[in-house]
Amino acid sequence: MQVSLFITCLVDTMFPEVAESLVHLLQRQGIQVDVPMGQTCCGQPAFNSGYFEEAREVAKTWLTAFADSEYIVTPSGSCAAMVIHDYPILFKGDHKQLDRIKKLTQRTYEWTQFFVDVLKVEDIGAKAHISATYHPSCHGMRLLGVTDSPYRLMRHVEGLQLVDLPFAELCCGFGGTFAVKMPHISTAMATEKVVHIAETSAQLLLGLDMGCLMNIAGRMKHMNTHIPTMHLAQFLDRASSDLPILDNREGVNIK
């Protein structure tokens, strides 16, 4: 089986370690990983802001980059949702592109869904003696139905104590360009999220989307709340190798 990695622009430029962790996790399942170098961005910022013309041009580079992939796997529910849910809206009426989209989206997966639903792997042999809470990102949860798969993976981590996040389903206020366009409302939403996370007293916040995690972590820093945030792929990678979960950044070494 060969898997093409769909690495979002945010992860590519700011959080390459998340993508690397995903490579590790896949390779350990004996999967051949391929990174199409022609990919850039899925077009979501333009689409969500209503710039359909611009979004279409960017989406076409995505469609070309992945044209002959067997499976397409991404560490972002939001970008997977862009391709699966929004491309058909974006290219409405353009039958040539719609055919292409249909073929590709049938093989596109948010990575936890790929592990649980396609690979049928829930236990990757990870260990971590730490308490964590989990923020479900909206697009993955609501547009793709990523609800069960992350929990299945997390429940199999030996020693991990999962703490429920109050009001978990409330959006953290990122919303891509929303955070820039409506900064006050977005900040108020992020603040509420940070308060709920702090209430859990968990040592770590886990999530599936770097956009949301960046927003939450950025707000935390301003509020002087120091709870490390981590993408679930990175966490599982660390928890299943000899790497410390938190690399001394916060002055604690949990493992």
């Binding site: 060969q2 170098m37 022609g38 850039t40 710039y51 959006c171």
Partner: protein, 479 residues
């Protein structure tokens, strides 16, 4: 952003009372709803509801004609009103023909669209709202801030203060005392009223029936005590048959307030017949278009007419939770308001409402008739772009975005050049809070810089190696 909108948002965000009241009330409604849904197969009822609404909207002309002829056959009067002026004139006409000066109302969002109370007061008519929430905001000279719970933004202390002021004596802030006071005032109004005005949750085409869901029984009194009853409905609020009503009796109260059924469901079919003991002697039905037909036949927006105004989308919306209803500056607030208002009131100010959403999709998930509100918000933004409503700087930014991201080569170049200048844009490892575009972000949140190498660069250079498998990447496919 439009200045008034910005001011309303800022005002709402700094109002702790509002924030507290809205959070408590929406949390309660949401929890009650979740509980109410476990008792029946809600998904099935809701799917049936969506089908019925979709069918009605696709055949609206047929059902409206049937509704009107059934109402007329039973001796009622029907007015099709193209806009708010037509509707106000029709209502004023009925009032004048009776030389009436005292009107009581039951809760109705559609009359808010007409600014009916103002129009009637200007002609010297006393109008009294009889729904407790509506009565409260009428006293406070405000507008509803929630489709279902108009005074959701007020805490009980604030309400007690308001009542005490009007009554000129101290009214306690517990629910029975507040209720008692409202009862005492309103009882007299009910007895004196010459005209009763109500909204209409559903008009039943088959029987010409107007259906009202209420919790206080005031709807029942408004439709039966005064000799004349005027019902006002948006043209989309039609159901084919009484049997269909069962579906909505199951889903509307559950979605709205988490009740299995509202305390009162009133069915009014025409004026009082000679063998009937109660009911108004005269019945008038106002059917309002007010731009609704613009959405008919428009594949992007027709589904919005399926809305049953349950308010469930407001109760789950994280933006509504922060700013409440008044910040939207329109009759309908929350996600449905952000979609409906620009469709009903096509002006640049309303055109901004669709941006007040992070597109989290909670509204779509909550909507019992599955209106894709999150997709419509994006389509309304696209409509703004194609009409040239968006700021030039934003248009330019997305031109640059397109040029950069539509070509892998340009993307690489852009990342490299941004990386080489970022040290001037950063302070203490974070982006500086004064960079244009980013400043609105970085004022309240830190933002880390770009990584020294992108993932794809590291992958191509063979730097991505797993300690465990010691495997190198297999394929780094060229463009």
């Amino acid at each position: 952003m439009n200045k008034q909108f910005d001011e309303r948002i800022t005002h709402a965000l700094t109002d702790d009372h509002l924030h507290h009241a809205v959070n408590i009330a929406t949390d309660r409604l949401r929890t009650k709803k979740a509980q109410a849904l476990t008792k029946i197969d809600f998904a099935q009822w809701s799917e049936r509801g969506r089908e019925i609404r979709e069918h009605v909207i696709s055949n609206l002309d047929y059902y409206l004609t049937q509704l009107a002829s059934e109402v007329r056959r039973r001796g009622g009067h029907v007015y099709f009103c193209a806009d708010t002026t037509d509707a106000v004139e029709a209502i004023q006409g009925v009032i004048q023909s009776h030389h009436a000066t005292k009107v009581i109302k039951s809760k109705s969002m559609v009359t808010e669209e007409l600014h009916l109370n103002d129009a009637l007061e200007q002609m010297g008519v006393e109008v009294v709202e009889t729904d407790l929430g509506e009565y409260i905001i009428q006293l406070a000279h405000e507008t509803p801030s929630h489709i279902i719970a108009p005074a959701i933004h007020k805490g009980r202390e604030q309400i007690a203060d308001l009542f005490s002021q009007v009554a000129n004596r101290k009214i306690a802030s517990d629910t029975p005392s507040l209720n008692d006071y409202a009862h005492e005032v309103l009882r007299q109004k009910f007895i004196e009223a010459e005209i009763g005005i109500t909204g209409c949750n559903f008009g039943i085409a088959e029987t010409g029936t107007v259906c009202l869901f209420t919790n206080e029984g005031n709807g029942r009194m408004v439709t039966t005590l005064p000799p004349v009853h005027i019902a006002v409905m948006g043209m989309e609020r039609v159901l084919p048959t009484l049997a269909d009503l069962e579906v909505f009796m199951n889903i509307l109260p559950r979605s709205a307030t988490g009740q299995q059924l509202t305390s009162y469901v009133s069915l009014v079919t025409g004026p009082r017949a000679h063998d009937e003991l109660d009911g108004a002697k005269e019945f008038h039905l106002i059917i309002l278009d007010n731009q609704r037909s613009q959405s008919l036949g428009d594949p992007d927006f027709q589904e919005v007419l399926q809305c049953i105004r349950c308010g469930a989308c407001l109760n789950v919306c994280p933006v509504y939770r922060q700013i409440g209803g008044h910040a939207y500056g329109s009759v309908y607030s929350g996600p449905i308001g952000a979609v409906l208002t620009p469709l009903l009131r096509d002006d640049p100010e309303s055109a901004e409402l669709p941006y007040a959403s992070s597109l989290c999709g909670a509204c779509y998930e909550a909507c019992p008739v599955k209106i894709p509100l999150h997709d419509m918000l994006v389509k309304l933004r696209a409509r703004n772009v194609s009409r040239g409503f968006t700021p030039p700087a934003e248009r330019l930014a997305f031109q640059i975005y397109k040029k950069t991201f539509a070509s892998p080569k340009n993307y690489r170049l852009a990342v490299r050049s941004l990386r080489s200048v970022q040290k001037w844009l950063m302070k203490n490892g974070e982006f500086h809070s004064s960079i244009p575009i980013l400043s609105s972000w970085s004022k309240t949140r830190s933002l880390d810089g770009l990584s020294p190498l992108t993932f794809r660069e590291r992958f191509a250079k063979g730097l991505v190696i797993d300690q465990i498998t010691e495997k190198l990447p297999h394929v780094a496919r060229k463009e």
